[in-house]
């Protein structure tokens, strides 16, 4: 068998997880040879398992048996930065005009460094937008954003779009609570 046609377990793994790493002739060999059907299915099933969440009850059992595992369902993020951004005037103010209140945008950043969470809170004139980011997970799912001191909470099924609150609210720090 020619070297380029020899298919290893690592090749099958890459075929399923990182196909861009394989040369076209290997992809062709894997797809044309029925001997690899089960092997591809093996890693396809593993890939599917990776995207499934682990139930809380199992997380509890992991933490019972592995001391290093500390499942967290609440994380407190504290304020580290506050910036005001004045909106640029795009109109002429005549001397006789009464001074108008300028629309102001301010942004505040809350972080929990240990757990890799960052929240950007954008204060618009009469509303708030909250963006949640994680250093470790591409998508965060099913969590509550709890704003302190009011304790008001808002559920988000994922962090692909910001949370929008259509009124002003005082925020000193923010808690994330995961289901």
């Amino acid at each position: 068998m020619h070297e380029s046609e020899y298919i290893t377990e690592n090749d099958i793994f890459n075929y399923v997880f990182f196909r861009y790493l394989l040369k076209q002739e290997k992809i062709h060999s894997i797809e044309q040879n029925s001997m690899y059907v089960e092997n591809v299915e093996f890693y396809t099933n593993l890939k599917k398992r990776f995207i499934r969440d682990i139930p809380q009850e199992i997380k509890k059992r992991i933490s019972d048996k592995i001391a290093q595992y500390r499942p967290i369902n609440k994380v407190l993020l504290t304020l580290i930065k506050e910036e005001s951004v004045k909106k640029k005037k795009d109109f002429l103010v005549l001397a006789a005009d009464s001074p108008k209140e300028e629309p102001r945008i301010s942004s505040r950043t809350f972080v929990n460094e240990e757990n890799g969470y960052l929240i950007k809170l954008i204060n618009l004139r009469n509303s708030e937008r909250i963006f949640v980011f994680s250093a470790f997970e591409k998508v965060l799912r099913n969590y509550k954003i709890i704003l302190h001191p009011s304790g008001k909470s808002f559920f988000q099924s994922d962090n692909s779009i910001p949370l929008e609150i259509d009124y002003k609210i005082e925020v000193d720090n923010i808690e994330l609570e995961f289901e």
Partner: protein, 323 residues
Amino acid sequence: MGQYLSFLEKLVDNNFSFREVNFIIESSYKIALHYLNQVNLKIQKIILVDEVPFEDIAIDAIAPLFTRNEQNEFYILKNTFRSWIPSVKTEEEALFLFNTIIANRVEQHITLLLKEADPFFAKIFESINYYFKKENLSKINYFGTVYIVENENLRINKNLIKPNDFDSLPGGLFINKKLLFKNILIFLKENTEYFPAIPINSLVHKIKKINAANFIVDELTENPTDLVELEELVSLGLDSAKDKLNNFYVSKGKLSNEEADFFTKALADMADDLKNGGIKHGLFEYLDPYSKQLSRADYQLKYQNIIEYLLKIMKKTISESLS
């Protein structure tokens, strides 16, 4: 940098957030559960005998990887990462390394469970390893199963034999223990379409079925042990369990005579299964046919600890007789 490569590189200076450690533990658990679910049904039945769910077996399998040494390091992962050839440089390689580490860990854990479930399995496994070390052979893990292959034939380029097909190989191949590996590998090459590789756990089961007596050897003399009759060994184990049942549980009034009667019948069935491949299903299933309308709740409350203890005594007696 990706999460897996970053974790592996941080093993050197041991500087992780617990969020990173959590992520790696959760990934390891998912991989372990996947491998357990792929194990063949015969082995699944044996390792599930104590009714411990796969989720817990997966956790037990990965737990040793996350123990720390005196320097507070994850030393098993650190040593594996350091010694891995070729060295891991990308996120893609790092994930494959994790996958390989977990596959090996799960296989080792399954072997441990099989040994605990069946004293004959343990002894034959030891004997196979003894002969394996004398040959020019290697062990490789391929999609979660460990195979014995020739050193000059490590590149798998054909299908591997399935457990059921391996079980159907001619019994004559398994008679001569000194030529065991050679005979099977030649047979696979010359008479089948399979790649010449021997799945170890299937080999142990096959030997147990047809040739256990001859295979349980004294490693110093290379002679079969005197206690070679499976029947005799199992009978010894059964007697010791029945002694405990009558002289402790019945005589102290912990079980009635009627209860002792169905325990005795259940123990006899368990002994039969030990002879024929190991305990095959949950222990409740052994008591259920003989007790009147036994509910699972009653079983767990009144009988589970007793039947598990009696089985332990039976297996311990057999193990001691074998060693």
